[in-house]
Amino acid sequence: MFHNRYFAICLMLLGLAGCASERITLLPDADGKVGALVVTRDSGGEVRLDQAYGSARVEGSKVEFRQSSASEVKERYNATLAAIPTGTQSYTLHFVIEKTTLLPESQATLKTILEDYSKRPAPEVIIIGHTDKSGDAKYNEELSQRRASAVRDQLVAGGASPENIETAWRGDREPLPETVGKIYDQRNRRVEVKIR
């Protein structure tokens, strides 16, 4: 019942305050992929969006589909798109078997991580240590923890702030999917580093 009232008020005040519609617009992501949204009006009606720049307009009495465009979105929403934070970046560092020593190419990756860190506002780092399946599980838990700590120490030595870093470890419990069934595998002697 109050929707009728709402609609009446809208009609009455149209031109005074205006009763512009709510707009929900689906964008392609950075890779050009397009997800999907379902916009459901509380008092009935639904629009599914699955095309780039498809837009749902929700007004007092209905919800409608409109096709928007890249140029319209850019013009109308430039400010909001510019304020979106930089996306999370993931890196993988690899280790010498049984050791907390980085492989040479991972030393270079560590430098890249520190550069990335220095460019981000209020950076957060998540470090997760892993091992391969060789050795017993308890030993691997401890080795993965030492690997994670070694990476944390090197990031701190390179200028990262310890309070911005979280460390975790998984032992040999989360091997890469492509290595399942293998015991010795260099790809699993790794530490994953996420920065956001």
């Binding site: 109050f2 929707h3 709402y6 008020i9 809208c10 005040l13 005074l16 305050a17 205006g18 009763c19 512009a20 519609s21 709510e22 707009r23 929900i24 617009t25 689906l26 964008l27 392609p28 992501d29 992929k33 397009v34 997800g35 999907a36 949204l37 379902v38 916009v39 459901t40 009006r41 509380d42 008092s43 969006l49 749902a56 929700v58 007092g60 919800v63 979105v73 109308r76 929403y77 400010a79 909001t80 798109l81 510019a82 304020a83 979106i84 934070p85 930089t86 996306g87 999370t88 981000r120 506002p121 209020a122 957060e124 998540i126 975790a168 956001r196």
Partner: protein, 166 residues
Amino acid sequence: MNYKVMNYRCFSLSIARGLLATSATVVLVLVGSCLASPAALALDVAGTVKTSQGNVHILRDGKSIPAVVGAKVMAGDVLRTSSESSAGVTLKDDTRVSLVPNSQVVLDKFAFNANTHEGGMFLSVLKGTLSMISGLLVRANPELVRVKTPTATIGIRGTEFIVDVP
């Protein structure tokens, strides 16, 4: 009740502002009283302010906290930008959101387990414009992530979108 209040937002700009503030309080009270596990969950950090220009505030427990870069955002917080202000927040599941000037958004619920990716999110756009790039929660549990406007609910299957509430 809060949505009923919000449905009268066409009166005039100044009255609408007052009503929106009221409804934000109502949302907060509802969230506060409905969450099953109270303090621990509500106090968990949900995200971090990454970009902040001009006058941006977090309203929490009746207090207004400046949302400077590095400020933590928690479930239950209201984020508010004044004129010529904008803000960007990254949540724990890598969801990214930004607000333009004169926007008001409530992070009604946020829970995320970094190990299992379990959890959910409920976010209300009371006014202004929000852009969102969804994160791990939508990938793991799309049915448990919702964005609410004053008159509609948005179910999200990914990834990037804009919600514009006049």
